[in-house]
Amino acid sequence: MSGINDFAFKIGTVNGTGSASANGLLMQAIFRMGIPVTGKNIFPSNIQGLPTWYEIRVSKDGYTARPAAVDLVVALNPSTYARDVATVRPGGYLLYDSTWPLDPDLVREGITILGIPFGQLCVDAFEGDRDRTLLRNIAYAGSLAALLGIDMEIVGAMLTEKYGKKPKLLESNHKAIRLGFDYAHTHYTCPLPFHLETMDATRDSILMDGNTACALGALYAGATVGAWYPITPATALMEAFKAFCEKFRVDPETGLHNYAILQAEDEIAAAGIVIGAGWAGARAFTNTSGPGISLMQEFIGLAYYTDIPAVFFDVQRCGPATGMPTRTQQADLLSLAYASHGDTKHLVLFPANPHEAFEMAVTSFDLAERFQTPVFVASDLDIGMNDWMVKRLEWDDTYRPDRGKVLDATALEQVQRFSRYLDVDGDGIAARTLPGVGGKGAYFVRGSGHDKHAAYTEDSDAYQEVVDRLTRKFAHAATVMPRPEILVQDGADIGLVTIGGCDAAVREAADILRAQGIIVDVMRIRAFPFGVEVRDFLGTHERMFVIEQNRDAQLKSLLTIELGVAPASLTSILDYGGMPLTAQVVVGAVTAHPARVTA
């Protein structure tokens, strides 16, 4: 199963000890060798002292899902030795710090155990506890470079890029990486049977996390107001937006900002700020996670009922309640689709990776303004916080924001009377005005019952006319939402239906299944409400599996509620332990299902 440019390794450390930069270095070096690579950071909800892992998968075929098996484990955290050694595949390798005697927990038949005294090497070579601790990480990176055949020239160049301006740090890092590299070379046969060889498969790609990608999307879409409350795993999105704004949105002459970022007192206020700004005509957004979405419910309903654009990035984590803040899930699907009390339905986008997150971030602002409604981008921790290998982001300079139907003073002169919620075009979208416009343009936004003229009402017909228009608007949106991505294979009689970040694992599973003689079609849903293509796919497959990362089959529920699909035709494959999905979960469930094979 493993071989040249096709294997996975995992590093188990204690968080807060500086291993992240070493792990990032390894991944980036492999990427620069032209080899497809993915990294998954499995980290605790903690600042210092708890177990953390970094999994790196290299795949010459370009598979980016989390690996099911690990060929090499670097066990540097005594508290997780027993767990870590158990995850090495039979015939695999374990690398431990032999400064201390081999812990009985690490002994296991059928694997090869390698010891390198990282601690001792660093004690001998460096002064001070801090340096010794931090550089131990660089030392293990050096050993891995030797064992796996990572190009040391690339590693050296990367260290120079990173520490070029800090000669002392540069020198110690170079020294540490050589320490690990040389020790491995002297004591073991390098490289190991599975290792890296230079390819040319990453030229058009980048390594980027989804939070950064969403932030870039917001920047390019022309968002000017960002409001938020810090929350894992969404925090980095606004921090990235801030950094991009500082780079691209500061007036060079005055130093003044063409943006406003407000760190609110809570998620409720963040939602209020976004809605206030959206009402006033700015492209505004917030970034949050499940607990924040729960808090924002009332405001979401207000924006829905009063036709105000707003963009919400929900970087989903494990719920309910506080749940597992540093683990991934797709368990907010229902609470986004139907957020708030009363009859409400919302537009939701489901990116599968950071590349799509960038594009959908831009799309979300267009949809929000065009349909004058809240739009959610349902990212998740895996997409948001892990570095993914994706195609380079691209931009078309002819893009112009879709501001939707906005009547300015000139346009208002043409109308007899401005009625805020009057559906003139029959598409459910009523023209709006922005505060500040004169003439007939002023109106009164109210969350209380209103008629099509925006006047208060308690009249049944006048009330229903407005909420029925919202239904028409939603139906209209279904025709322009991003279409599902569909893979059709000759001879397929099984359909796999999935969503978001499950995409990588499901596509890989489709290939594995084909190799086993099971041909499947795949549909990845990219938006809610569902378009006609989704309905067609479901209508043309007798046996379907719905693969999603939550306990309650929320995507399946949405499909049955919205499209009237018979629940019995959809078999759920649910993976909700908080880890990114592996292809093997899908393969296992499909092959184990009694009704799977009709051919």
């Binding site: 870039l216 000017t224 406003a260 206020a269 700004a277 405001f299 112009r400 505060p435 343009g441 208060y456």
Partner: protein, 351 residues
């Protein structure tokens, strides 16, 4: 119904302001509040204020939450934009609107339930953010729309209409605002238009959040004996510390030189407020003494009114955020999008 359009009656003789608008032009829909409600007097004071300040109606935005007080945004300035949001959350909506368009005059109307209970957090943080807005709390110590529950501003010992006595300590928005660093803090009484109008004018001109707590009796549920927010109690116990006269920039300022008790504070737009302390030692530019004065009055069961504190040198939200003077909604897209070349270059950082 909470809004009934007023019949378009013309008063040919009514005076016009510099914009050629009459007082009627600044009115709104018919109030649906109880007859005698203090809030209607505040509404009238706001109409007067806007007319005298010659506000361009469409350049003002009326912001509110939920409650009797919040309903009143429909009862004045019908030609202005309005946003009646959710309970206790007017400050965040106004923060967002102001972030997007800093050039509108934001008039926030709230109540003691809306701002001191459900929205206490939002009020506090809007003060900290120093959103450029007038923030009026129509304070009656009671939940009117739900028929008479105590609010967080009810004084200890104050009784409800049903005779229940309030045991919990009140939250005083004036003390709170002074503590949180508000740069404009005033208290007035809905029954004292002479005092209220100049305060509202100065509040609108203030660069930052101008908090105006207006004791505004609820005739239906909190105007009885035993209430400390009734017309009778307020009239009897009101102590005006400092009287404000607002002088717009356009008018010549004539300060009587002999009157040493008058302080002149220049507002952001060049207008001035003339503050005449009724007590000779009162200093409305000193936060500590303002706080002490309000506390002293409280201990004597008196209500400190007037423009209690003003600091025109504080930074407002936009100054703190260092935003451009152009409203963000008016910044052209070309200035906001870095473009393809920049993105292509940026991609190198992710390799």
């Amino acid at each position: 119904m909470t809004s009934i359009a007023k019949p378009p009656v013309r008063h040919p003789g009514s005076r016009t302001n510099g914009r050629g608008l009459t007082l009627r032009d600044y009115e709104g829909a018919m109030s649906t509040l109880c007859a005698g409600c203090g809030h209607d007097s505040v509404t009238a004071a706001l109409v007067q204020t806007a007319w005298e300040l010659e506000l361009e109606p469409h350049r003002a935005a009326k912001m509110s939450g939920i409650g009797c007080s919040s309903k009143t945004t429909a009862y004045f300035m019908k030609q202005s934009h309005g946003f009646n949001s959710v309970h206790g959350r007017m400050p965040s909506v106004t923060s967002g609107a102001s972030a997007a368009n800093r050039n509108l005059t934001y008039i926030g109307i709230s109540g003691d339930g809306d701002s001191l209970s459900i929205g206490l957090g939002q009020l506090s943080h809007a003060i900290r953010r120093n959103v450029n807005m007038l923030y009026v709390i129509e304070n009656n110590g009671v939940y009117g729309l739900t028929k008479g529950q105590f609010s967080a501003s009810a004084d200890i010992g104050s009784t409800s209409k049903k005779g229940e006595s309030n045991e919990q300590a009140p939250i005083d928005p004036v003390l709170l605002a002074l503590t949180l660093g508000a740069t404009f803090v005033a208290r007035s009484f809905s029954g004292d238009k002479k005092q209220l109008v100049p305060i509202l004018k100065a509040g609108m001109a203030h660069n930052g959040l101008a908090l105006v707590d207006v004791i505004s009796p609820c005739v239906s549920f909190n105007d009885h004996e035993g209430s400390t927010k009734s017309y009778a109690f307020t009239r009897e116990h009101e102590v005006e510390a400092v009287h404000a006269d607002f002088v717009p920039l356009q008018r010549e300022i004539t300060v009587p030189e002999s009157d040493a008790a008058v302080r002149v504070v220049t507002m952001h737009d060049g207008a001035t407020v003339r503050l005449r302390s009724t007590a000779s030692d009162y200093d409305p530019t000193n936060r500590e003494s303002a706080y002490a004065h309000v506390r002293d009055c409280q201990s004597r069961h008196e209500i400190a009114t007037g423009l209690l504190f003003v600091d025109e040198s504080g930074k407002d939200m936009h100054a703190m955020m260092r935003t451009v003077p152009t409203p963000l909604v008016d910044v052209p897209y070309e200035k906001l999008c870095p473009g393809k070349a920049a993105l292509d270059k940026l991609m190198q950082r992710y390799r």
